[in-house]
Amino acid sequence: MGDWEWPLILFTVLGQIAIGIIVMLWWLDRDRDHLDTQLFKQGVYVSGGLLILALLASLFHLGHPEVAYRALAHLGSSWLSREILLFLLTFLAWINLFWLSRRQTSSHPIGADAATITTAEIAAEGQQSGNRSLGLGITSVLGLLGIASSAMIYVLPRVPAWNNVGPVLFFLLTTGLLGALVTLVLGRKLLHPTQKKLLLQCSLGCTIASLLFYVIYASMLSASMEGATSLNFLLSSPLFWARALLGWFAPLLLLVSMLKNSQVAKTNLILTLTLFSVLGEVLGRALFYLSATGIQITALF
């Protein structure tokens, strides 16, 4: 059985929220001018802060963090090297976003007198939003590749519970789920109701997919002795049931009722939902490391 790996839990979950926010901003920005400038700035600052925290947390996992830069040395075959490279590139792309956010002038308030907006202003704004969209796109793609590389580190032939598509799928679903919810929290006063609804639908989709894939994943685990050990550990752990309650069942109930009753604007509900989902994902990640059982020598010693 694995250990309670706090640095890795924090690194992966915080990093995935950070990149999830950028992906959601990019998605909201797909129709130019629909992303509020204030939300863009807040999203960039929060995702940058989380990315820095995630990278710092990852250092605590190392025996010798002072020489962590060496981890870039084996790009040819080590997914850990590739992950570090992609996260560093994501951070560079984020610096560009930060720079863009500092230069971004606020969008015209809804209903502004069209006659007061000059052609030059329109052209400048078009250029700004084009750069913003490109910057968000590049950061998102690099970040998602970084997350896929993080997941690939765990695809080890020795660990049947990880040696499948599960880690990549679950890491990307966490990115979508928590990215959408944290963006919703940041933009609770700035987003249009339709945008809020879209983010809630995205969260619902990710939660349902996570639950369904987990059921399939769990049934696959029993195929090997080590996988069955992981599954038994999960099912007998109170943490797993807390994860199921906080990360799947409670969010599903809240999401369905919010979408059904058009309560997309209720701040308390959004905050409760996000808190449940973050706790659920943190517990899920802790269990991911705790339940890993490797193929090993079973002779006596």
Binding site: G63, H74, S78, A299
Partner: protein
């Protein structure tokens, strides 16, 4: 790679004295916890023999070493003679190799916060000597051999034993001579 060196362990000769473990510790003055070499006892039910059988295992200098594949700092290299060498000076203590090796042979030294493992005494081999464990094995149960088809075609040479991970995972460079079906003395 011109050849692949490895170990041949003969369970018929091994008496489980752990002399190889001690010789390894002595040679490298290894701290208490990491065990580069370890003697295991086969489960009786695995071999259906009413007797105690042992095998001794260190790093298997695999043909497809997972430790080398996953290590982000290239602390592992494979020499021309197939020995997988770990350089602790490069190690940053990420422990990924300890998760990847099915034999649990790279081990963390919690005082140094780095991983260590058997390097098949390559400096002794380069001087024409036997590895410390092989030299110390009194009944001659542990041998340094070249892993090749000639060895694999010999009668009684096994690629694995019950209780070991499938050799398909990393193609380990170790072979075994299993315990022979002995005479069972029955008193009824």
């Amino acid at each position: 790679m011109s050849k692949q060196l490895g170990f041949l362990h003969n369970s018929e000769k091994c008496v489980g004295c752990r002399g190889c473990e001690m010789a390894c510790k002595n040679e490298y003055q290894i701290d208490a916890a990491p065990q580069w070499r370890k003697v295991f006892q086969l489960h009786e039910e695995d071999f259906s023999l009413p007797t105690r059988m042992f095998f001794s295992m260190a790093c298997n200098h695999c043909a497809h070493p997972e430790c080398l594949r996953v290590c982000p700092v290239e602390a592992y290299t494979k020499r021309d003679d197939g020995i997988v060498v770990h350089d602790p000076n490069r190690c940053i203590g990420c422990r990924l190799c300890t998760m990847a090796c099915p034999y649990d042979r790279p081990q963390i030294n919690s005082a140094k916060k780095k991983v260590e493992k058997c390097n098949l005494c390559y400096q002794r081999i380069d001087n024409g000597e036997q590895p410390a464990c092989v030299a110390a094995c009194i009944p001659g149960a542990l041998e340094l051999v070249e892993i090749n088809d000639i060895l694999d075609q010999k009668t009684g040479v096994l690629k694995t034993l019950p209780g070991l991970p499938s050799p398909k995972l990393t193609t380990p460079s170790i072979r075994f001579i299993g315990p022979k079906q002995g005479k069972q003395i029955r008193r009824d």
